[in-house]
Each structure stands twice: as C-alpha cells, then as structure tokens.
C-alpha cells in the first residue's frame, strides 16, 4: 500500500465473494455432499430429510457455543463433557409417571447446569487469566466425573414425547389453515431448531455483545482502549457456550432416547472441526456461525454418504480428518502477506 494510492479511489468493502470466500467454500462443500446424498438414496422422502437434518443437529447446536468461544480467541474442550453431563441429568431427572412435567424440569435443570458450567469456565479464563485450552480440559474432566456419578452406566429414561418434540416430524398430517388453506408438506422438526439457531445468530450478530466479542478476539488491546470490558465479554462468551452445550445435551437426549455419561465426548473435537471448516479464525475475531453450521453438517453427513456409496465406514475418519486439515491448510496462504518474519513464528 504505497501512500496516497487510495487517492481519488474509494476504499470499499471487499467484494462479497472475497469477503465470504471461506463461507461460500464450506456451503459449496455442503451442497455437494447433500447432492451426493440425494442422488444415491433410493428415495428422498420426509423420512430421509428428517434423518439428514437430525444427523448434524446436536453437533450444530454444540458448535454454536464453540463458535462464540473461538471468536474471543479461546477454545472450549469441555463442550463434549457438558453435552454428556446434561444428557445424563436429563435421563435421571425424568420420571415415567409424569413424563411431560418432569421433562420440563429436566430441561430447565440441564440448561441451568450448562450455563453454570460455562460461567465457571469463563471466570477461570477471564478473571483467573488461565489458558482456555487446559482450563476447559480440566473442567471437562470434572463434568465427565459428575456425569459418571449421575449415570454410572448408560440407560435412564427419556420420554417419547420429548424425542418427538425435537427429533420428530411436524405436519405429518395435513393441517388446515385459516381461509380454507391446508399445509400438507411434512417438515422435520430439526429444521425448526436449525432455523432457530440461524435466527439466534442473526439477532446476536447485531447485539452490542457480539461487537464486543469480535473486538476482544480481534485485538484485545484495541478493544480495551476503546472502552470494552474485555473480561465481561469473555465471560459472556463462555457462559453462552455452556448454555449451547446444555441445549445440545437435550437434543442428544431426544435423539438417543437414553442417557450416557460418555456419549457426548465426540462433540468436543467435532465442534472444533466444524468451526475451523466454517472458516472462523482460531486466533479469534473473525468467523460466522453460518459457516460453522455448514461445517457441522459436512462432518455429520460424510459418514452416511460414504455408507450409501458402499465405501467402508473405515474411511469415515480418514475423510473427515483430511477435510479438516485441507481446510486449515487453505488458511496458511494468509501468511504470505505477513512482512515481518517474527510475526510468522
């Protein structure tokens, strides 16, 4: 950028495609994978649609939390254990005698525990000024321990109504609308959850909190100089992440209809993979849940696509891992722009 090069030329936002390159890339990948899925399945009926949407639902929810934490420049390794913990709590609190009312209680307790766990992480990271990676590794271990106390072996009871509520199909029967219209297309209920996540993100992105979280992740020093309360922003991000993990735990409960103190483990690593695939910078400050969402479904759908194409399921991890490494390697091109070699270390 020579001085004065911008004279007479307006500095505009970079073109949409360039600005959202990573986002478009991951959505293209998702569309390709879904297309491959649709082409191979014998029929793409509401049942398949439901299976497809359900397959990535827990991950998509858990990854919302991971996205928020990564935006601050941190990482949350306790997301998986929190999914397990809230799942264990839900399976324990529910009561066969009063499925509906007990499920409401279970859900409330699970969400509260999720938020509280996130708050603990946030306090340790923001006010204790400890490394997020090892703090959340430690709290993750604690959540797992508590989950094992609550549910030493897989089992427990999740009401069928709850499963239907989150993992079922809406409008299975045609519904009559006012003015004599009818709605006859069944919609998987997971679609409403995904829509809810997207709407939450769109609203959240326009909140002051979101600006602060992005600012803290982008440049903690500049954020502080601009009057941002850095610690409070981090605390909020981790707390929301815990709450999202609690939601994911409930969805996992609905889908598996059982409790398992180790059932959520996979979501820690997969949520990080989803965020990275979605194009967020692990250093913080840049990224969007819209990318993460696509990343989560890419990771979740790969196994079933491979299965339908007759590829051994043994290739699942190989493909998922390669996709992740490929996505992060793409980010390395930014290094070429760094002119100070010390900053490339």
């Amino acid at each position: 950028m020579p001085p004065g090069a911008h004279q007479g030329r307006t500095v505009r936002p970079r073109p949409f495609v360039m600005r959202n390159g990573r986002l478009l890339f991951v959505w293209a990948m998702l569309i390709a994978i879904v297309a491959a899925y649709v082409l191979i399945v014998p029929q793409f009926r509401p049942r398949e649609q439901r299976t497809l949407l359900n397959s990535g639902l827990t991950l998509a929810t858990a990854s919302m939390g991971q996205t928020l934490v990564v935006l601050t420049g941190g990482i949350d390794l306790s997301i998986g254990p929190m999914v397990s913990l809230t799942n264990s709590i839900a399976s324990e609190v529910t009561d066969k005698e009063a499925p509906t009312s007990s499920m409401v209680v279970a859900a409330a307790v699970a969400l509260a525990v999720g938020a509280l766990g996130g708050l603990v992480n946030g306090v340790l990271v923001a006010y204790g000024r400890l490394q997020p990676i090892i703090v959340t590794l430690a709290t993750g271990s604690i959540w797992t321990g508590i989950a094992l106390y609550i549910r030493p072996s897989p089992g427990g009871f999740i009401p069928l109504e709850f499963s239907n509520l989150l993992a079922g199909t809406a409008f299975a029967e045609p519904v009559s609308l006012p003015f004599g219209l009818t709605w006859s297309t069944p919609i998987p209920k997971a679609a409403f959850v995904v829509a809810g996540l997207v709407i939450f993100w769109i609203i959240f992105r326009r909140s002051r909190l979101a600006t602060r979280i992005f600012a803290v992740g982008s440049s903690e020093g500049a954020a502080y100089l601009s009057g941002v309360n850095v610690q409070r922003a981090k605390l909020a991000a981790y707390t929301l992440a815990g709450f999202a993990a609690g939601c994911a735990g409930l969805i996992n409960s609905a889908q598996t209809a059982t409790g398992n103190a180790l059932g959520g483990t996979i979501f820690t690593l997969n949520s990080i993979a989803a965020v990275v695939l979605g194009g967020a910078a692990l250093a913080g400050g840049a990224g969007s849940y819209l990318g993460t969402l696509a990343g989560a479904y890419v990771i979740a759908i790969i196994p079933s696509v491979l299965q339908f194409y007759g590829v051994s399921s043994f290739y699942k991890d190989l493909v998922q891992g390669s996709v992740l490494l490929f996505a992060v390697a793409l980010g390395a091109f930014g290094l070429l722009r760094v002119r100070n070699r010390m900053d490339r270390l």
């Binding site: 490394q131 990676i133 390395a332």
Partner: protein, 349 residues
C-alpha cells in the same frame, strides 16, 4: 545447572544498579543462599507438588490397604507408570514449545498394529523399524504443518488423529491381526531374574536420554529458548521452525515406543488402545509442573506426574473413590496446578 554460589562477585558497598531489583524479587543477598534464584531448590520448586502428591497418595493407600505399599505392588505400579511416562515424554517436549499433540492416540495405535501385523511377515527387527518409522513420520508431518503452515498445534494434531484413525481402520480392515512379538512382552512385563522389570530399566534409560537431551544438548537449550520467547530466540539465530519439526517428530517417536510397550502389556494390539493415554499424558506433564505456556518445566517433573496419575487411578479405587471421583479429582488437580504455575508465568511477563 547450578554452578554454585560465588559470593565474591558482589562487591561490598556497590549499590545495585537500579532500585527495580528490589521490587518483588528476593533481596540480592539471598540470591547466593539455599533459596536464591540460582539455587537447586528454587529452580526445582515446581517438583515439590507432584512428588508431594505421590507421598500423600501412598500414605492414603497404606492406611486403607497396607498391602498396596508392598514392594511387588509398588514395582507393578511403576511399570504401569513407565508406559505413561514414555508417552508423556514426547508430550513434555511438545508442551515445552507451548504446543500440544493430540495425535498420539492413534499414532501409538498405528505403531502397535504395524508391529503385531508386520512381525508375522518379516523379522521383528524390521517390524519395529517400520512401526517407529511410521510414528516419526506422523510426528514429522505434524511438525511441518505446525511450523511451516502455522496451523495451530491443537487443530493440526486433531485432524492428524482422525486421519490416522482412518488409515488404521482401513489398513486393518477393522480387526488387527497378530500377537505381540516376544521381545515387546519382555519389554513390557518381563523381569530380570524375576525381580527387576525390564520396563523400569527401559524407562530409566529413556528418562536419562530425555533429561540429557533437555539439559545438555544444543537442541534442549533452543527448545527452552523458543518455548519462552520465540521472537528473542529467532533474533538470536535459533532455527525456530526446525526445532519445532524435530520436537513433534520426537513426540511421534515416543508415541511409537509407548505403542510397542502397550502391545507387549496387552499381548496384542487393538483399536482404540491409545485413546486412554492422551489425557493422562497431558495430565502427567501438567502435574509434573511443565507450564502449558511453554518454556518452563522438564522431564523430571513428568516422571513424578506419570507416577501420580497411575497412583491416582489405583489408590483412589482402593480408598473407595469411584472412577467418577477420579475424573473430578483429575480436573481439580490440573486446575490447582494451573493456579500455582499459571500465576507464576504471569509475574514473569
């Protein structure tokens, strides 16, 4: 490290150059004593906690189950710790650079499987060479991605772990074949004269090599330099990227060695055998006092950390604490260590 004190260097009557020294640091007079910053005690203060923990755990075990502290059982505990200790050796080097290696799980698994499957088709020596070679190659790839593409170590090794899991599944078709060759059984569970376990001899040798590497070699000095301050290291002509690549390669090698020992211990290789060792290895390093920020700590602490972790698992069981309680204690101890050492690192900034 300490070359002893040289009290003659402080000239009486000469004032310290600036008063800044007096703030928050020990008085200059104390520097040459038992507790000064060049004393053995001060430089190894990080070791007090893990070795103290071992004593507490042993005392607790002795009260509840006196049989636990018998010679043969203690030697058995040490053998179990040796597997973890070898695996955590590589993790120590990586954490000293400020990174982390999560790919050791499937890296050691692949080595173990290569060993059992190949030793049926070729001389055991070559099977070992290939098993360790594969482990090093994986570490090398990690190192290249982290040092040259600047992929965060967490993500690089996470992705590598998934790739390795896939490669292993494809290679074994889901069921690993073959048995552990006799030499690996001897290494893991054999005893010299029925008394001294080979595993302990090997661990002692391994420890000596790692400690020598860290304290007495150019590589070791450079490792601490870049772990503390990569910029200052770079400006002093340290080949930062090569040190990183070498470190991840060595970590891979340690995972491979651990894989061979675990194969011998369980007489075979099986899928997922490494997953149980990732967290304990990191815990052993952190409990051993190596800072997760890099640059401070060493393998002496990790030895104690590995023993602590193994004792935790077994003593807690004896004292009647469930695996659930172990997990919780694990987390609490790591948090405690963070507060002890993490704070320390902040003052140094």
């Amino acid at each position: 490290m300490s070359h002893g004190s040289e009290p003659g260097l402080i000239v009486p009557g000469v004032e310290p150059d600036t008063p800044a020294v007096a703030l928050g640091s020990p008085p200059r007079r104390g520097m040459t004593g038992l507790t000064g910053p060049d004393s053995w005690l001060w430089q190894n203060r990080a070791l007090l906690i893990p070795y103290g923990l071992i004593l507490i755990l042993l005392a607790a075990a002795a009260i509840r189950a006196p049989g636990f502290v018998s010679g043969s059982n203690l030697s058995q505990q040490l053998v179990l710790a040796s597997y973890l200790g070898v695996i955590a050796g590589g993790q120590t080097l990586v954490i000293l650079t400020g990174g982390i290696d999560l790919s050791i799980a499937w890296n050691l698994n692949l080595s173990a499987i290569l060993l059992t499957q190949l030793s049926e088709q070729m001389p055991v020596f070559w099977a070992v060479v290939i098993a360790l070679g594969s482990a090093c190659a994986v570490g090398l790839l990690n190192g290249l991605g982290i040092a040259y593409l600047r992929i965060p170590s967490l993500v690089m090794t996470l992705g590598m772990n998934a790739v390795l899991a896939g490669v292993t599944l494809v290679y074994t078709n889901g069921s690993p074949q073959g048995d552990a060759p006799p030499f690996s059984r001897d290494l893991a569970v054999g005893k010299i004269g029925g008394i001294i376990p080979w595993a302990l001899i090997f661990w002692a040798l391994f420890s000596a090599v790692v400690i020598f590497l860290l304290r007495r070699t150019v590589y070791g000095k450079r490792l601490y330099a870049i772990g503390n301050n990569p910029k200052a290291g770079y400006l002093s002509g340290v080949p930062v990227r090569w040190v990183l690549v070498l470190t991840y390669t060595l970590c891979g090698l340690c995972a491979g060695l651990g894989g061979i020992m675990l194969t011998g211990y369980s007489q075979q290789s099986y899928l997922g055998m490494g997953d149980l060792y990732v967290l304990p290895a990191i815990a052993a390093v952190v409990i051993g006092g190596t800072s997760i920020l890099g640059g401070s700590g060493g393998y002496t602490g990790t030895i104690a950390g590995a023993i602590t972790v193994v004792l935790l698992q077994n003593v807690l069981q004896i004292v009647g604490i469930q695996p659930a309680g172990q997990q919780i204690l694990y987390g609490l101890i790591i948090l405690l260590m963070l507060f002890v050492y993490g704070r320390n690192a902040r003052v140094q900034e």
